[in-house]
Symmetry: C2
Subunit: 370 residues, 2 copies
């Protein structure tokens, strides 16, 4: 298989060749840049605006060798030489409870999965709560019980926490921020730098279940569908995959911004291209139908129990088999390939044999999804 | 010096002896217990209601050997045998900027200090932001610059972060949650279990500057006073103290709930009594005056750059000298003594030679102070 811009971008009817090349050049120059003077919902959506805000405000100010602009956490080296992953996420999902989970499950799974994406064994979690005055204690207890259950299932301990209360109207019920740490086993190196042309991209399960479950749970859409969030800890699946495919290059969980945005982050970080095969992208029919009704591309819908893995060509089958062996990964699929050209770009090869560029998420079609 | 209930509680005119004993017995039985059905501001104040909420909701659900109900963080043991402190705090202070600092300074100092209280060398910090739609980017940049400056001054790196945005009205400007980790040097053990009768209690500087600075900065009190927050990293002072007084038993920063509440936590954790000497409690005249006008006891006002140390009797002078040697600690003072009786109770020996019981903070006289 040859992996060049010509093969993938001129084989279909979507654009003429010259137009395609021009669009790619324009895209390459279109690094996200912060132009806003106030914070908008798009800055929290995990797409292009989020990247621009992070670059302009946080990376610029906090610049240090460990800070990871695009990753799921920082990796620090302990005095004894061990490498440790450290990650944090705030959770502001609305509603607090949805088919398949709650903010409590998300708060644990989100941080456990970020640690697993660094190759770490997730071990210890902190939990900080900002509560709105008047929030029912019983509801808080249920959320906390979900966190405890999620932590037990993921084999992590919640070892420290904090509680703040703000007056009515100064927050919306409850926000939870978790942080987590875990040691990375010796010799394990996952990095975008290790990704090579010809590597394959695996997605561990169907796209978009979480985002659509939360969206429908809000009840302001006239859509009834049996869609459950995929929220889950993926650390067990990651260990199975790494045992079967020890040359695995890079892992990432496609939460906010979805698979489309994370593939763009991969393309930007590596300078390589990512070609996605539309027909191989796993999406449940219910989710696909809901997305079509809402005019949302499932490539941009958040997942909370899936991950993307870039694996070595020769280990691709072993990696896939390792995921398929387990119920959680029974819909895992090889969804794409790493190519040299178009550089730093994601393209989707459509079912009709055409291609289109997949940009990062723009705007925020699904606010407060996690 | 003899340290018994009789010496300290019957030497003054405040109560008759029988009354004192009866009050102590009642106090001992008055463990905080959660009776509320909704969250109130008092649950976030760091006093009795906070303790009740933490006990009933979080400790109960997350119970594990590492989880520390009363401490400033969890201490975990890494695979290589090193002990590491892990701590988190959310910051919801209003206003965001006040004389002496901002929410950005607090967010770094708060977590750095919690780590230092465990005896750890604070090293790495995470920062998660919940932003309200419409928040000015320039104001965010200033806060982030304060965090960067505070981190540099405290010699810690901000290595990972997260940003969420909620719609207008769903939060109040910005909430920041930091977590931090740091390794505890081998052989260093700080614990309430090590505290003994006859140990002395040192406070590293004047009480209440932070709480009063924030309170006055709100501007709805008709008090004008030049009071600046004491927000600062105390990790350097802690290292000086531990070098001079290596048998130091226990450290704690009296943030929410103030010195009075933290002394009660010490008394409850050790089962011993704490006798505070009113005349030795350092309070700036301006702060004292503002407290008197507001009817607030400085013992319950939050500090963000002070710590309490329980030191061995024979190392007390060395410990105090180590603090006094530095400008930050020039008002450090020996404020009390650990006694066997009254057990699990804090008493204040007043300037008139009388005594009164110092309870934990009840209610929330100063909401959103950190």
């Amino acid at each position: 298989m040859s992996n060049t811009v010509h093969d993938y971008l001129t084989s279909g009817p979507t654009f003429a060749e010259g137009e395609v090349i021009a669009r790619i050049e324009a895209f390459r120059k279109r690094r996200p840049r912060l132009r806003d003077t106030i914070v908008t919902l798009a800055h929290g959506a995990g797409g292009k605006s989020s990247a621009a805000l992070v670059d302009a405000v946080f990376i610029e100010a906090f610049r240090n060798p460990v800070l990871d602009a695009r990753g799921d956490g920082g990796i620090v080296t302990l005095p004894g030489g061990e490498r440790m992953a450290f990650s944090t996420d705030s959770f502001v999902v609305q509603p607090l409870r949805f088919p398949g989970g709650s903010i409590g499950h998300l708060a644990v799974h989100g941080t456990v999965n970020d640690l697993a994406m660094s190759g770490a064994i997730p071990s210890w979690i902190s939990a900080a709560f900002v509560l709105e005055e008047g929030f029912p204690i019983d509801e808080l207890k249920e959320i906390v019980a979900d966190m405890a259950a999620a932590a037990a299932a993921a084999d992590v301990q919640i070892v420290t926490g904090d509680t703040k209360v703000v007056p009515r109207g100064a927050a919306d019920g409850v926000f939870i921020t978790t942080a987590g740490v875990g040691v990375i086993p010796a010799g394990r190196r996952l990095s975008a730098d290790a990704v090579r042309e010809g590597d394959r991209l695996i997605l561990s399960g169907p796209m978009g279940d979480h985002g659509m479950a939360v969206m429908l749970a809000r009840g302001d859409l006239a859509i009834e569908a049996d869609i459950r969030s995929d929220t889950a800890a993926v650390s067990g699946q990651v260990e199975s995959l790494l045992a079967a495919a020890p040359s695995t290059r890079w892992l990432r969980d496609p939460t906010r911004g979805g698979v489309g945005t994370v593939c763009n982050e991969l393309a930007q970080a590596t300078g390589l291209g990512v070609v996605l095969d539309e027909e191989r992208l796993p999406v449940r029919p219910m989710v696909n139908g809901a997305c079509e009704m809402l005019g949302i591309d499932p490539l941009y819908v958040a997942n909370e129990g899936r991950f993307l893995a870039v694996v070595a060509p020769e280990e691709t089958d072993a990696a896939l088999d390792a995921l398929l062996a387990d119920a959680a990964g029974e819909e895992a699929a090889i969804i794409g390939t790493i190519v040299a050209e178009p550089a730093a770009t994601v393209v989707l090869r459509t079912g009709f044999g055409g291609t289109r560029i997949v940009d990062m998420l723009v705007g925020d079609p699904l606010p407060r999804i996690c």
